[in-house]
Symmetry: C3
Subunit: 390 residues, 3 copies
């Protein structure tokens, strides 16, 4: 698997079909070798070989001759986006269908068609990949992304790529305070299967985390809140966005969620997991269509997302309650951190320091001093180095 | 008593004059047989027999001949509402007086008048009616209304009528979770006397309740907050108003109270009692005048108030902290509560379910899911039936 | 010392140079007998004898002949305020310098100048004055002001004058619930030295307090919040301002602090100290210049500040959690505090009384009843006198 080449140590695990995972059962594995609609002249008017979105996911095998009007009932297209093939699945209701652009559909002539889907559903495996990048503490920060949408670039090849880049960056760091868990899973059933296997461990160790999705295209950053809404994942996601040049939308409530934070935050699971996306799933016209392709995403957007997630993880890794070491203000001149002449206002160092009373974490210090994330970290590092906080 | 015919089981109790009730004493009973002002020609220019508002409540007996100018000092009228007889009482200062329309007053001619009030104040009783409609729990919801304003329709025959209808409706229900206490009392002294007798019981059992008054006329619903301001009475009153087609005003602070929530919420009593009214007492021009008559109130308004109180009591009766029974999302398809194709957004069932973590009551679930009261109850009932919450 | 004549019992204390006070050391004492710049003609173009702002505070002794262009590097002036001599100090970096108006500077001609400063820095003392005005309780309210700015009227002769007046007023009161500690100290090092000596006592006893500074000039009152931001010092400062006819600015955050609240609120010290000023230090053009003189301040402003501080201290001294003595409303007619005829709305007495449940202090009662400070105190005193609260 390509990801294993990129991320040393990434392991692949399999869960057999039929395994009970909480209220769910891992379904049989669906495979498809070929599918097409052939007209009376023997032309394949749509062909799975050209674009795997042409077949409704999980379609039953079929080989039938149908009149055009019969065939129409098995076709999905988007009249408002006549050049887009929709992405449709039917995991749990047995049926079959084809997806095509609306223009393709309009070009169909009356007559007979042969619809062929060579698929089979049989016991198999649900695969996922998992890696723990160890830190000084065994407390973990989770990065989870999903790998189940074939052919769609922003949703969610972008999430896979940014998560892989974050894993490589985390591995390259000289030290990490926390451990980082990187998970690549199919959405929903994969997260549920993963949690069924690791629930106790996750509940004990996970202190923060994000679902990484839709990070390659769009104009604005979105935060999807955790169910609790005030975890450090939520707080530092919000503060990290102060550092991006892109516009940022007010955090979405958990009721507007849509990916695996659904499972990670569920009552009884209760992990502190939020999500940062660029334009949010369901809110851009290319969503779940063939237009969500490599031209839709850009390197610039992927890098902006990567930077934002890096800032966010740095803040979390650095976060703690600092305490100043002096009673009354320190004599800053002595410690070499004070301007030589009387300043006209209180210097930033003193404002950060004044709130280092052991009750404020970096989030609180940022809010109370009014400094940005990087400046707060710089200031705290300077004060740490001078022994003025601990 | 008419109410006993309407409400089976309603009992009438009497407290003798002179009984000490906290800081107060039950006063002597005032009765009046006849009162009028007669002019020199023997015409009764005002007559208690025509409208009992013509005499200041608790007036002393009198039979005097007065010159018009002397008489004027004992007359109350409303120049700004020349066709309205004001409703005036003087419970604790001994005096006498007549009330009339301002037009009647202007028609008085110079000359001598005979003022007659055949009233007497003597030891008697303060009467009130009380009924407990039992439920599965002995915790009680209170409905209290006052019966002391003679001849006024909205204030407070409307409250008496709506409370009676609520009592009948509660009695008709196949099951009630809570018990319901229905109280008809004179305002202020009646509530104080009632509390003096039942304080310990009320403090132990009462979990919510309302003072029902001014519910027969007006354009908008008003909530008068309890002293604490955040009891379930306050919360469900606010949420119940989402379901009425009438406009609703922002809840009034307790400082704007005016009826027996004054006593029920007093420090040391501390019951969680709020009030829902249509146009609030003191804020409509017919208030405390003869214009607050049967023409002023309407069946439509009485029914709207009844419906609102019913919604409110249903929410309270249904309210508890639900807990979902699955770890991770349930497999809704299996339980028959999920749309067949992927929905574009999270369905309401899942949003309600996601917050059923044992810490949220129905109020919290309404706020967090954004659903209306009835829809939340419908959804919760569906989830209960499927065994997805408990 | 003049202050001792004004304030009986005020004691002066000395801390020797070299004493370690937390992270600081009490510096040597700087004294100056004479200083001037003399031109080639023997004219003293600036002379310390005329205005002691002419020399940079803590200047080293010097007696040198310099060319005008050399001299310029030792001169401070304000081009934007050409008639103001700036006030400059250099406590901890050894150097020397002269301050003059910009017009004086522009009048300097080319040529040689003799710069003379007869100063010496030698072990000495840091002096401060301290007084405890005892009350019924040994809990203390602190008033602290600084005495280290030579020649400046608003900053901070005004603070010294108002503090002295407050001390005299407090001494004149027939009773004080709390004890009042009055402190006159040099800013920063004085507060640190004072705290080094009295920290445990201050932490144990101090329940509120203010730094009194810049109270003689300006258009609007400013509150500088304590670090905690919600102490009774903050709350009653805000409420006291309801009673002044002057405009009041929204309280400044602690990050905008600038005087000895820096030390009093520091982590580990944690005293509940705020500050009330008229135009805030650093925000008026006369700040730290020779224009901050006796003409800049006015008796009217000093009196307005005195009144505001008095209201504030009265509120703090009066503050407690009152509890009403009756269950249900009291029968106010009996107690002589109720209007004879039914009022159209709930009287203030009842609104204050309704919240006297033992959990609300005077601040809460003011907020909840909507009354101003004086009116709340008047009402509470009336209720106390009638025995309706305790």
């Amino acid at each position: 698997m390509r990801l294993q080449e990129l991320i040393p140590g990434l392991e692949i695990y399999s869960v057999p079909s039929g395994t009970k995972v909480f209220d769910w059962t891992v379904p049989d594995e669906w495979n498809i070798t070929d599918a097409y609609i052939m007209d009376a002249d023997g032309n394949k008017v749509v062909n799975f070989a050209n674009n795997n979105l042409h077949v409704v996911g999980y379609s039953e095998p079929i080989d039938e001759i149908l009149d055009r009007w019969e065939l129409e009932t098995f076709i999905h297209s988007l009249p408002a986006q006549p050049d887009a093939i929709p992405y449709i699945t039917s995991y749990y209701r047995r049926r079959w269908g084809f997806c095509m652009t609306h223009n393709q559909r309009l070009a169909l002539k009356d007559g007979l068609y042969r619809a062929v889907i060579n698929s089979f559903l049989a016991p198999g495996h649900l695969d996922y990949a998992d890696l723990l990048i160890p830190g000084e503490s065994d407390q973990e920060v989770l990065l989870s992304t999903y790998i189940c949408h074939p052919s769609l670039a922003n949703d969610n090849l972008s999430g896979v790529v940014v998560t892989a880049a974050l894993a490589r960056w985390l591995q390259s760091l000289p030290r990490r305070r926390f451990s980082y868990r990187i998970v690549f899973i199919p959405e929903t059933i994969g997260a549920i299967a993963y949690l069924a296997k690791h629930l106790d461990h996750m509940k004990e160790k996970t202190i923060a985390g994000y679902v990484v999705t839709c990070v390659g295209a769009g104009k604005r950053f979105n935060i999807i809140s955790s169910r609790q809404g005030n975890t450090i994942s939520d707080k530092f996601a919000a503060l990290a966005t102060y550092s991006t040049p892109y516009p940022v939308i007010k955090p979405h409530l958990y009721t507007e969620r849509g990916s695996d934070e659904r499972q990670y935050c569920w009552p009884g699971v209760d992990l502190p997991i939020a999500s940062i996306t660029l334009d949010k799933y369901g809110e851009y016209p290319q969503y779940h269509t063939s237009l969500d392709n490599l031209e839709f995403i850009s390197q610039e957007r992927l890098e902006a997302s990567l930077e934002l997630y890096k800032t966010c993880l740095q803040l979390i890794d650095f976060n703690r309650n600092f305490k100043c070491t002096t009673i009354c203000e320190p004599f800053l001149t002595k410690h070499g951190v004070y301007p030589q002449t009387s300043p006209s206002s209180v210097p930033d160092e003193l404002n950060v320091l004044a709130y280092c009373d052991g009750t404020n974490d970096v989030y609180d210090l940022m809010l109370k001093s009014g400094l940005r994330g990087e400046d707060t970290i710089l200031t705290l590092n300077k004060l740490l180095e001078k022994g003025l906080i601990e």
